[in-house]
Each structure stands twice: as C-alpha cells, then as structure tokens.
C-alpha cells in the first residue's frame, strides 16, 4: 500500500531555523527551530494564539517569514511559492471545492501537476480507497458528512504524493465520537503511506495519540520538543507541565548537591531527591512537579508513609477518582482508580506518598 501511494520517493524531512513572523508590532512566530525527521508524525501543540497556525502557514508558503529559513527534504523553500513546495494541506473546514465532485476534487492536484489523463483515474481511485471512500466519486462535497469530507480532503492531499502533509486542526470540526474514529484512521493512514506529517492542534489527546514527537508552543516560541510521554513525565517548564494536564507544583530550593543528584527542600514536605539540572547551585529556586496519578494515598495510621493531610474534595469520574488534599497550607491533587481506596472519604486523614523518581524539577 505504501509503495502504491508513495511511489519510489523517500520521505522528506522538514527543517525550520530561527523562523520569525511579525504582524504589526507583535511576533506571532518568534524564533522557532524545528527539525522534523523523514516519515515522522510531528505535532505542534499549543493554546490558541500561540502562533502554531502561523507556523504552519509559513511552512506551507501561505505566509512569508520575516526572518529564518525553511527547508523541505533538504531543499531551501523559504522564498518558494506555495505551489512549488510539494505539500498536502488539510484544513479544519475541509476546504473542498464545492462545485466539483469528490473525484474531481481529488483529481484537481493531478491536473495541476500535468499528470497524463490516463494515469489520473487509477490514482484517484487508489487515493479514495486509501481513505475508504470507494463509491463516492460522483457525490458533491455538500452531500457528505463531516468525517467523509475530511477524508476526501486527505485523499486530495495525498494523491499528489507530497513531500509533506500539513494538517491544520483537521479534527476540530468533528463531534467527539467521530473525532476519535478519525484520529485512529489518521494514525493508520500516516503509517501506511509513510508520509512526513505536521499536525497543528490545541487538543492534547489528539497530539499524544497521533504523534511521534510533539512541540509545545507558547507566545510564538517552542517551549519543549519531545515524545509525548517525555513531555508528560519530564516537562521542561511549568507552562508545559500545566498545559499537558493537572499537576502538583511545589516551589522549593536546592538544599544540597551531590554529584548528579540534588536535594530539594519544600516547605511542609519531606526533602526530595531529583536529578540536578545543569548549572544548579545550592539555594536556587526550583519547582517540583508531580502528576496527580503518581500520588499515593493511604489512610493515615500510626506510621504514615508520608506527610498527613485531610481530603477536602472528592470527584468521581467513573473510571477515575480525583481527590484534593489539604496539606499544610497547600492543596495536593491525587488521582486513583476507584475501589482500591474506598476508605478515602471526604474529611478523611490520609498519608500522601510518592516516588521521587516521578518528580520533575523545572526552573521556577
């Protein structure tokens, strides 16, 4: 299948170096360096207004950067027009040509690239087969559901065998159930076709479910790039930690340094040992972050496993239970599977425990 759709071309990488784009006085993209590996599924994740769509438009050639360099498959395309970049674009609103049929939509790119007429029909058929839309050739986009329209948009993008597939919030217009279906379908498709893909989204689940690597963006800059688990477990900043989900954040100070390990003192908690960051000195302010699901709660006995607090909020989510524990003058968030700790009711005294290995230290 991969060979059928990609031909003999090897996947291409994307490189963006010191990319800057200003609108008026403000920099929407403020010095971005990103290297997407050939064949990789790469996601740019961030809140609205962080510059992720501007970044995508710069890569697509819709916008022209004020500074920096863009290369696709090693070739500099910084000043190349959009039609010379060999990219496939998929938009949130599908952007299908409403006056053309499904088959004509998919064939549009082939006609533009002057593919001989005889080759077009089989390639259109193959692309529609790839997105599981055989039999819809003669329909108009308006006669299709949102998910089907998005699949036509994907077929239209991949049929020209682009070097790079750019997806701009492609699933955001679909309802929740369909979005999950399309998410797994998109993952399958990308793996089968083997095309280098850049996805832009504000949806953490989408980013994590689909991506090999994720870049988290904030105010025009990349905060951190890494595999989803890496970002989640080892956030490099408080912003990344908080953006990727609820988190306990404990401001502390470096109390001691011992080789690669630092001992962090946090008011009201026991000292914690974490890997020392580069250039840390004793007395530096550091924040520890810990995911709620890494917190263990035990009914406080005679020999508590950690500092003791009182549960002041319980929220049952079905497959999970969220707790808030008042501990000294801070609130600790914990998340557990229900059942195992049924004794934990509102007002109960609990011992809060964790493994230091689950802590991540970020500059505060």
């Amino acid at each position: 299948m991969a060979a059928a759709t990609r031909g003999e071309r090897a996947p291409a990488g994307l490189e963006a170096a010191s990319l800057v784009k200003r609108f008026g006085g403000t920099a929407a993209v403020d010095g971005i360096d990103v290297a997407v590996r050939p064949g990789e599924f790469f996601t740019v994740l961030g809140p609205s207004g962080c510059g992720k769509t501007t970044f995508l438009r710069l890569v697509a050639g819709i916008l022209s950067p004020d500074a920096g360099r863009i290369a696709i498959g090693g070739a500099d395309v910084t000043r190349a027009p959009i039609w010379a970049r060999r990219i496939g674009l998929v938009f949130q609103n599908y952007a299908l040509f409403p006056h053309l049929t499904v088959a004509q939509n998919v064939a549009f790119g082939l006609a533009m690239q002057k593919v001989p007429r005889a080759e077009r029909a089989p390639r259109v058929a193959r692309a529609l087969q790839t997105v599981r839309l055989e039999g819809y050739e003669k329909r108009k986009p308006a006669e299709l559901s949102g998910g089907q329209q998005q699949r036509v948009a994907l077929a239209r993008a991949i049929v020209i065998e682009p070097d790079l597939l750019l997806l701009d919030e492609p699933l955001s217009n679909l309802d929740a159930r369909l979005r999950e279906d399309m998410r797994s379908e998109l993952a399958d498709l990308q793996r089968r076709v083997g095309i280098t893909t850049v996805l832009v989204t504000h949806d953490i689940h989408e980013a994590f479910a689909l991506s090999d690597r994720v870049a988290v963006m904030r105010s025009g800059k990349v905060e951190q790039i890494g595999a989803p688990t890496e970002l989640y477990e080892r956030p490099a900043s408080r912003f990344v930690a908080g953006f990727l989900g609820p988190v306990n954040e404990w401001p502390g100070r470096v109390a001691a340094l011992d080789g690669g390990t630092a001992e962090i003192a946090v008011d009201g908690l026991r000292p914690c040992r974490v890997a020392a960051g580069a250039g840390w000195r004793v007395g530096d302010a550091v924040a520890l972050v810990l995911r709620p699901e890494r917190v263990r709660l035990d009914p406080a006995g005679d020999d508590p496993a950690g500092p003791v607090g009182r549960i002041d909020q319980v929220a049952h989510l079905g497959n999970l239970v969220n707790y808030r524990i008042a501990l000294a003058d801070r609130a600790v968030l914990a998340q557990t599977a229900p059942g195992r700790t049924r004794a934990l009711a509102l007002g109960a005294a609990v011992a809060v425990a964790w493994d230091d290995a689950d802590l991540a230290a970020v500059a505060s």
């Binding site: 959009i82 674009l89 040509f97 533009m112 750019l166």
Partner: protein, 258 residues
C-alpha cells in the same frame, strides 16, 4: 395604532407606485393627449414608438452601452475587490473609498468634470467617452457586490488549490470565479440597470450623435408631449422590474445594503 400604520404604508406605496401605474395605463390610450383611457385601449403609441427610428437607435445604444459598461465594470470591479479583500494592502480603506466615490460625488459635478475632461483629451461626443463615464458610475455597484461575495468565500479554497500545484491565476479561475459566479452575474445586472437608466451625467456627455434612451426621452418631452412617452416609459419599467426580480432571486439586493 396598527391600523394607522398599515394605512400609512398603503398610502406611501400608492404615492410611489401610482404615477408609474398611471403612465403604463396612459400608454394604452387611443387618444392624442396624455390621458387615462377609460373603455377604449389601443397599442397605437407602441406602433408609433417602434416606427420612430430615433427611439430604436437610442434603445440599441442604451443596450450596447449598458452591456459593455456592465461587463467592463464587473471585470474591473472583480479585480479591485479581489485585491482589496485578499491582498489587504495598506490603505485598502482609501482604495475602497476611491472606487465607490462616484456614489457620493453629485452627478452634476461629475457630469461637468467629465465633459471638460473628455473635451480636453479630444474624446468628447464619442462612444468611448460615454462608456468610460458609465463604467465609473456603475463601478461602485460592482465593487460592493463582489467585495461581499469574495468575503463570503474565505481564502482557504485558494490555498488548497495552490498547495495542489495551481498558480494563483489558475486557483482564481478554476475555484474562486466559479464560486463567485452568482455574485458576478448580480454585479453585471446591477451595473446594466444603473447604466441603462442613467440620465444626469449622460446628458453632459451626449452630443447629437449618442443619445441614450433616457436622454432621448428627456429631449423629446422638452419639445412636445404625446403618449409615445408613456409607451417607452412602460417598456423601461418592464425591463427594470424584470431585472430587479432576477437580482432579488440572486440575493444581490442584500449585498448592496451592507
């Protein structure tokens, strides 16, 4: 209160429509005078009208002028609207104001100005001069209609087309223009309607050679009055009403109000 309002509305409608109805009615009189025929109807003045070459020539001129002016204005208006809507160049507000200025400049002032100007460049009395003046007059209508149309179709479709390898001109021709066709037809009909019924500026522009239909009527009635006028007016009303009905169907009247 409600009844009073309804009454007032009916009165206003009658005030606007009654003269037109009367003119149409009078056009069927068999008599020599301008009067409302009661009982006897005749097509005499229509026959009279069609046997009067000057009117036929004027009608053909008006038709030709309207069609060409509407075509040029629609084409220029599309390019201008495209540039302003998609390009958003600095000072695009001023550009829009410039293109729609003919709506604000008093027709008499523009008439005198264009008379002087065409005289200066030696075009006075030519069809070209008349055409250029009409293009300027109808351009605001094309511009407004097409601006609204283009704003209704975001740039994503063009981006999609260009990402598939289409040059900008191909993206515009193959995607934007087909989608804006309705708006373009509306703009064209609008421009035709405005051009076809324009009197003030045209009066300054027409020598003896190029009398458009409204100008011919205007000159005719300053000479004498007979029911031929009623017949020709009726025909013009018929054409206008037909065009307005088409425009309404195309939804173009709403665009203009924006």
């Amino acid at each position: 209160m409600r009844r009073l309002l309804t009454g007032f509305n009916l009165l206003m409608i009658a005030y606007v429509v009654a003269p037109i109805v009367l003119v149409v009615w009078m056009s069927f009189t068999p008599s020599m005078r301008f009067e409302v025929p009661l009982g006897a109807f005749s097509l005499r003045w229509y026959r009279e009208l069609f046997s009067y070459d000057a009117f036929i020539d004027s009608a053909i001129l008006s038709l030709r002028l309207g069609l060409v002016a509407a075509l040029v204005a629609t084409a220029v208006g599309f390019l201008a609207a495209y540039g302003v809507v998609r390009g958003r160049p600095p000072g695009s507000g001023a550009l829009v104001a410039l293109f729609t200025a003919p709506l604000i400049v008093p027709a008499v002032v523009y008439g005198i100005a264009v008379l002087q100007f065409t005289n200066l460049v030696g075009l006075y009395g030519s069809f070209t001069a008349l055409l250029l003046a009409h293009v300027v007059i109808v351009l605001p209508f094309a511009m407004r209609t097409l601006q609204a149309t283009l704003e209704g179709h975001g740039p994503e479709l063009e981006w999609a087309a260009m990402s598939l390898g289409a040059r900008r001109r191909h993206a515009v021709l193959l995607v934007t223009v087909p989608l804006c066709l309705r708006g373009m037809v509306s703009a064209f009909l609008f421009c035709f309607l405005i051009s076809f019924s324009e009197v003030t500026v045209t009066l300054f522009m027409t020598g003896p050679a190029h009398q458009t239909l409204p100008v011919r009527i205007f000159n005719y009635v300053s000479d004498r009055i007979d029911p031929t006028m009623a017949a020709v007016s009726s025909l013009i009303v018929l054409v206008s009403v037909a065009l307005v009905l088409v425009l309404n169907r195309l939804g173009a009247l709403g665009n203009l109000r924006k």
